[in-house]
Point group: C2
Chain length 288, copies 2
């Protein structure tokens, strides 16, 4: 019986979180070698990687569990092999700020290097399979394989750029644009993972999305409803369908809100007169 439930669970996740095919079990726990880790991170593996006998242990976390917490002594980096997480920063008053939603192939824990203590907290939003990379092991490897050191600089630089974009977005965009971009970004990441970038389920609550985007949960909910009304997406609970990804991605600070309303009124009138088949995002773009 327990076999069956285990099987059904792994089947349930098979569509979204494929395990590294060649990862292997040993003593009841999963292990990956250097090449597999590099593939997962989408960085070029050292030519001599296959001769490397270093292996990396996998650890499973259940939804809700913490991978590491703020202030905890730093000693290992984590790579997401499957599952979804959030990283949060908690200020001195206990307010939670979501910083990222890591998923397959993402690296966690970089912020712990600075003070040898994690600066953020990582929490599993679904059951997760994480690969442990002890920092000491990593730096030792970096000394042997120069490409690895280089790759690490690249990954960290990319993270810095990502956060710069985030800062830009937070201070420049309207709520609608923030939510729209959030959805298209999610879609692109799903795409890169080999899944549908147009149709997916949100793994996080409106609250968490709002925290991530600097909005309240009510505003997120209202904005999703509005994008739904506009025909740019369809949304029901956590099921998202991107109907017009292009319009979503280019949606900006929507200048005068009045103009928007006028346009949609115009279109609605036309639709009502059967002069237009239906409202769609392309039309919105054309009319704006």
């Amino acid at each position: 019986m327990s076999n069956i439930s285990t099987l059904s669970q792994s089947t349930r996740f098979a569509d979204i979180s494929t395990m590294s095919d060649s990862a292997w079990r040993q003593q009841g726990s999963l292990w990956s070698n250097l090449r597999q880790v590099c593939d997962l991170l989408a960085i070029p593996a050292p030519a001599t990687a296959d001769q490397e006998d270093t292996v990396f242990q996998h650890v499973r976390f259940k939804a809700g569990q913490r991978i590491h917490r703020i202030g905890q002594a730093f000693d290992t980096l984590y790579i997401v092999n499957s599952g979804f997480l959030k990283t949060v920063h908690i200020d001195e008053y206990g307010n939670e700020q979501v910083l990222s939603f890591p998923m397959k192939g993402d690296l966690l824990g970089i912020d712990g290097i600075h003070k040898q203590h994690y600066a953020s907290e990582a929490i599993a939003l679904s059951d997760c399979d994480m690969i442990l990379v002890p920092y000491k092991t990593f730096t030792a490897l970096g000394r042997v394989h120069v490409e690895l050191e280089q790759a690490m600089f690249n990954v960290m630089s990319r993270e810095i750029v990502r956060e710069q974009m985030m800062i830009s977005m937070l201070s420049a965009l309207s709520a609608e644009a923030k939510v729209a971009r959030f959805l298209t970004n999610l879609g692109e990441r799903f795409n890169q993972m080999g899944y549908s970038g147009r149709s997916f389920n949100l793994r996080m609550t409106r609250q968490e999305i709002g925290s991530y985007l600097g909005l309240t949960l009510e505003t997120v909910s209202r904005t999703l409803s509005a994008l739904n009304e506009l025909g740019l997406i369809s949304v029901e609970q956590r099921e998202i369908n991107l109907i017009d990804p292009v319009a979503l991605k280019t949606l900006r600070r929507l200048p005068p809100a009045k103009a928007r309303i006028k346009v949609s009124e115009k279109v609605t009138a036309l639709v009502n007169k059967n002069l237009l088949p239906q409202w769609n995002g392309e039309l919105a773009a054309a009319l704006n």
Copy 2:
């Protein structure tokens, strides 16, 4: 006559931008060695640094000049030896977003590593003396001195943490709190540089402060006036005096108590009361 004006200007800046004493001139341009560079970055210099014959060239920029542009091929990192700058990101519509205000000891250009092209633009706000560190030279040094590689990871990790704090601030704080923290942060940095952290001149416009904080220039101006009225600072044009730094630093809008954490809050409280030695995984399991 022109001598006098030049002299008075350099005198005016002397209090805030002291040149590395031991930097030396050669062929009309200034050079620093590895130890001097490490000191400037506040990272431990390799024990063998003095035997290192690598030297780093200085380059001077006048106020308003660009150090590097977005999209420009990346090949060198810059360290601020003296002067003040801003780094900006420019979106596809030409809108400028200020990302940081680097000053003495800060490292520029990290964001270029990722794609081998700078992702941001650095502009001198005052006359600047910058040390050039060719990326290739740097990585070569990192291979020789392990401490350097380590220090680089530290610096990049610190930058990531800094941006995380920025994101938190942007999405959680009110305009007053943003401006107040901006001022105290500036003060702390001046302090670290050995200058007064309570009395200083702003090197940037209200516009640039606003861009940095996600506010309009009018709001920045109004907020400064308000903090002045409250007696927390005195401000006249760009002259700032922090009268009550403590109150400034703790000034905040109290967000809804909803977004507060539960378990970790309890644990933190216990740790603070010395009822728990420290956080550990066993506790995590017990409380989750």
